[in-house]
Each structure stands twice: as C-alpha cells, then as structure tokens.
Amino acid sequence: MPFEAPMSDVAISVEGLGKSYLIGHRAGRETESFREMLVRSMRGAARGALDVVRGRQIVTGDTIEEFWALRDVSFEVRRGEVLGVIGRNGAGKSTLLKVLSRITEPTEGRAVIRGRIASLLEVGAGFHPELTGRENIQLNGAILGMTRAEIAARFDEIVDFAEVEQFLDTPVKRYSSGMYVRLAFAVAAHLEPEILIVDEVLAVGDLAFQRKCLGKMQDVAQHGRTVILVSHNLPSVVDLSDRAILLEGGRVAMAGPSHDVASHFLGSLRSELAAGDISAYRHPYRDEGWVDIQAVSVGGDPLGGAVVQPGEAVQVDVELAVHRAVEDGIVVVNVLDERLEIVATFMSSDDGHYVSVEPGTHRVHCELGPLPLAPGTYLISVGAAPTGGRLAWDAVKALPGFRMGGEQSAAWLRWPERPGVVFQDRSTWR
C-alpha cells in the first residue's frame, strides 16, 4: 500500500484473512448417510474422542488434511472504489466473497466493513417457481436485504427495468428463461447499499440486457458506491473496476490497477496455453472419471492464433482422454464473442456423430460453418457429455478461439431452442 488512507475513506479493510477447511478423505462426499456414519463412527470413535480431549474440530475420514482456501489475504477498498477480484477456478475468489458476505466465518484474520453492505452471489436467490413475479420481487428483495418500504418505493422501477409488466401476476415457472433472469437481475440492480459485492452475475441474460446491466453497474460505481466485483469476464472487470487483485492458491498474487493485473493474469494463462495446458479453463462441476478434454486446437494453430476468412469453415480439433469405455457421447462446441456471449452452439449429434469408444486417446475433428460472423475475436468452449446426461464429463470454457478476418455483414438471426445469437446448423463431423 503506497499510502495509508484516512480511516473514514476506507470502506472495507481486510487483514490477514484466512479460511481453512478440514478435509477428511474417504468416498469423497460431504453429505454421507446416517448409516455410513454409524459404521464409520465405530472406527473413528477412538480418534474422535482424542480430538475432543485436545479441543480440536472433529473430522471424519481416513486421512485428514487442513486445506486453506484463503490465507493471509489483506487489502483495502476505499469508499467509491470498484475492486475487481480475478483468478482461476479454485483460487479462492468464491471463498473470499462468502467470507465478506458473512455466509461463512473466517478461520483467522479480520475484515472491517464500514457501511450498509449487500452481496449478490447469485441473481434470483430464493426465487420460488410457484410464486408470481410480484411476489418474487418482494421475496427476493427481502432476501437481498431491502426493507419492505424500499421494495415498495422501487417496485415500479424494477418492473420497468425487467420489462415484465404483463406477467407480474403469473407464476415465474411460466416465465421464459430470459424473463426470469431479467426479473432476477432487476431486483438486484435496484439494491442501493453503500457497499456491493457481486459475483459473476454479469454473465446472464441476452446481450442487450447484459449491456443494460453493465450500464446500471457503472451508474452504481459513479454514485460513489463501493463495489467488489468477481468475474471471469476480464474485459468487464477492466471496464468497471479501478483496481484489481489476483488470487492464486488462496493468496493475493498481485494487486494494482485493474488493467495491469488483468493483463498479467491473461499473460500467465496464455503461456500455460502455449504449453498445451488447458486445465485452467476447466469447468469445476463435471462428472469426473469418464472423459477428459486434453487438448483443443483451431485450424491447426495454437489457440487464439488462427485467422478464419469469411466463407471459410472453422476447423476445430479436440483430443479426448477416455478413461472408461463410453457410448453415445456428444461433443459440443460453443463459439463466443468477446463479451462471452454464446454466438452459436454446435453438437456432434447434429451430424449423427457419437463418441462410442474404448479407453485411450480419441480425436474428434469438426468443421463449423462457414459462420456468418462479423470480423473480430472469438472464443470457444468445448464440452463432452453423455446423451441425455445432465452433467458433462468435461468442459473447458472460453478458450481463446480464432480471429474472424475480412469485412462482411453479419446475418443476425434468432433461434429459440439453441443458445446463441447466430443461427448455424451446417457442420460436418467425423
């Protein structure tokens, strides 16, 4: 810290914050059944009794490990400042937000928050499908910490913002997903705390609505509100925040102007990518142990290097490490624009291509398009999933993809059943 700000100017000060979890390694589930517990408790009883005597937390498991999700984290956020928090999955971003939003207590250190705080770790927290739009606004507002008077005062504004006037008395289970997200975000956007903590929520809704939300966020920042913003969307972090901290392995690896921190982070991601390591992009929620996506390349070039000319198809190669024999697997490729909006989704099943293979390394090649895309930079996400399965075997998100060259007019078409703003169903798979 180059200088100490006067106390009254500091909205959040965090000193040596740490959060540890004791992990017992066993079948790997947090919620076990009572029966399992009974069986195991016989074995663990002796050790447990010892822990009680020593005054330690009792953790069941065959081996116990202390895992620090957050350690020695110190920073200050001045009043009216927007602080971005970036880092890869598992770096401790979510834990930091959970501690600051009081969802979980820190294990060590302390944080002082001066001012009325609201946190937004999820839009639409507590939304109930059976309740109407009107009822959900009241419920969600209260959950986010608004008083009844505040909700009443902003009710019309919220409804306007969400553009759902006609459906106010319809249960939200009949809403389209777009309407649902708009309503949820509208409530959140009308929170008026002095300090706002936001997680990832900008990556929702359609492009136009996302712009509107970004605008609202900027509004918020300009009105002297203090914001802590966590996002994977690096451009929006740079756009919105003045300073940023980079978390790595639960510690602050870098702090400074958001542009510098973001480019340092991007640089480290790119160098790993050049070495062929895409693990930083891996989606954390997946059905592990079946298929891993090992490598992805576009047009035979290193990721992000390929230039695609108008009228040309995009060539994507995916290398899969198959651990168990699988049948009827589907490979999915999303093309995203720079704001991480999905532009088009391609599925191998479109071309009648399914992955049914024995364990080993398996390659899939696909030709997408030609894509009617405007010139610019595009990202890709790749997933592998069982047919009809809900959870993917593996997914890597928002890899640097390719540059679209030339000048062309984009054919913007909408298609309700397939995410994306460009309709494309021509692809060849083998």
Binding site: F34, T104, T107, R110, R114, L121, G126, L131, E135, I143
Partner: protein
Amino acid sequence: MSEVILEPGRVDRNYWLDLWRYRELFQVLAWRDVAIRYKQTAIGVAWAVIRPVLTVLIFTIVFGRIAKLPSHGVPYPLLVFAGMLPWTFFATALSDAANSLVSNANLIGKVYFPRLIVPVATVVAAFVDFFISLAVMAVVMAWYRFAPDWRVVFLPLFALVAVLASLGPGLWITAVNVRYRDFRYVIPFLVQFGLYVSPVGFSSSVIPAQWRLIYALNPMVGVIDGFRWCLLGAAIDWRELAISLTVVAISLWIGLAQFRKLEKTFADVL
C-alpha cells in the same frame, strides 16, 4: 454508520441482536412458506380440513366404540379432536422445521441471514393449518352444542407450548440433517410413534395413576391435557403439566445449543 467486523467467533457474540435485525426477512419467509403451502396442493385448504376430520373419525371408532375407552361425559369425537389439534400442529411443525434447511440449501450458500429464522418461519406456516383445524373444531363443538367456558382464554398459551415443544427437536434434527441427510427418516417414525404414545385417541386418565408422572415426560401429554382443559373443561394434573413444561424447556435449550453449534458449518456443507 454501520460497521461490521468479521472475525472468528464474532457471530456468536451478536447472535440475538442479529436475529432481531432480520425480523423483516423472517416475516417474509414465513409468508412465503404459507403462500407456497396453499399454492402447491391442488385441494389446498380442503386438505387441512379433511385430514383431521378423517383421523378423528377413525380414532373415535377404534378407541371410543371398539375399545370403549372412557371420555368422562364429553362426546368422544370432541375428546379426540381436542387432542388432534395440538398433535397435528406439533407433527407438521416438527417435520417442516426438520427439513427446512435442506430445502433452503440454495439460499444458505448464497445469502447471509441468521439461519435460525428458516426453521422458525416454517413453524409459523404450520400455524395456518392449525387455525383451519381450530375452525373445524368450533363447528364440531357447535354441532354437539358444547360451549367452552372461561378457560378457553388460556388456549393461546398452550398453543405456544406446542410451538416450543416442536421447535426443540425440530432445530436439533434440522441441524443434524444438514450433515447426515438420511436423518430426516427419523421424523415420520417419530411422528407415527408419538401419535400412539401421546393421549390423542384417548384421555390420559386411562393411564394407571402410578405411571402418570412418568407419562408426562412426553411433553405433548401436558399440551394435549391443557387443550382439553381449555376447550372441554377436562381435569388436569398440574404436576404433570409442570413436568411436561420442564421437558419442553430442556429440549428447546438442547435444540438451540445444537443448532448454534452446527450452524456455522451449514454454508460449507450444504
């Protein structure tokens, strides 16, 4: 300006103050539970009427007609109904409270508020069913031309005891249920079992005198006898009531202590 300090052990110190601060959210959650309760079931309110009426009918036939148990001059259906009122409320409140944290898991992982308000709000929602049943009871009493005397003013007091009696085990089970999901299977068993060991289908006077005080260790004995005392003018043994109240107080204390002990880990486990 409000200042929040986060550090290990801080939550414990401001526990009750924090609870007071979140009273509006408590009201909203209670209102939500009531709204959902009557939106999700097709027959809604009818369900709250049919269930006690059918049970009263069956218990009257089994205990009153077949077993010919005494009712001390009170029409047998009224005796059963007066016991069924607090029992159904207790059973509903207990099972709803016990499942409340798991069914609100998404909230607990994403938003801070004193966790205690979730199970307590479900108990409030169970009150709505109670009032409907109470109205049905009034109709049945009118049918038998049976008017309660001045003692009826003490009914809210005994209803409160029923609330507290359900909260004790409810809090404890919901906290344990977060960690061990199949613990909730204990509840239907407890409710089923409790229905027969509590004096719902019969007057507690059928219990041999030497066992009465031990019988009162079941907190619902005091509550049900209290309800019959208020509504039907039945006799009540004040020593029994004192024992039941003590058990309620102790179980509430244990339930709260367990809840507070486990509450800090909810967000990490859910």
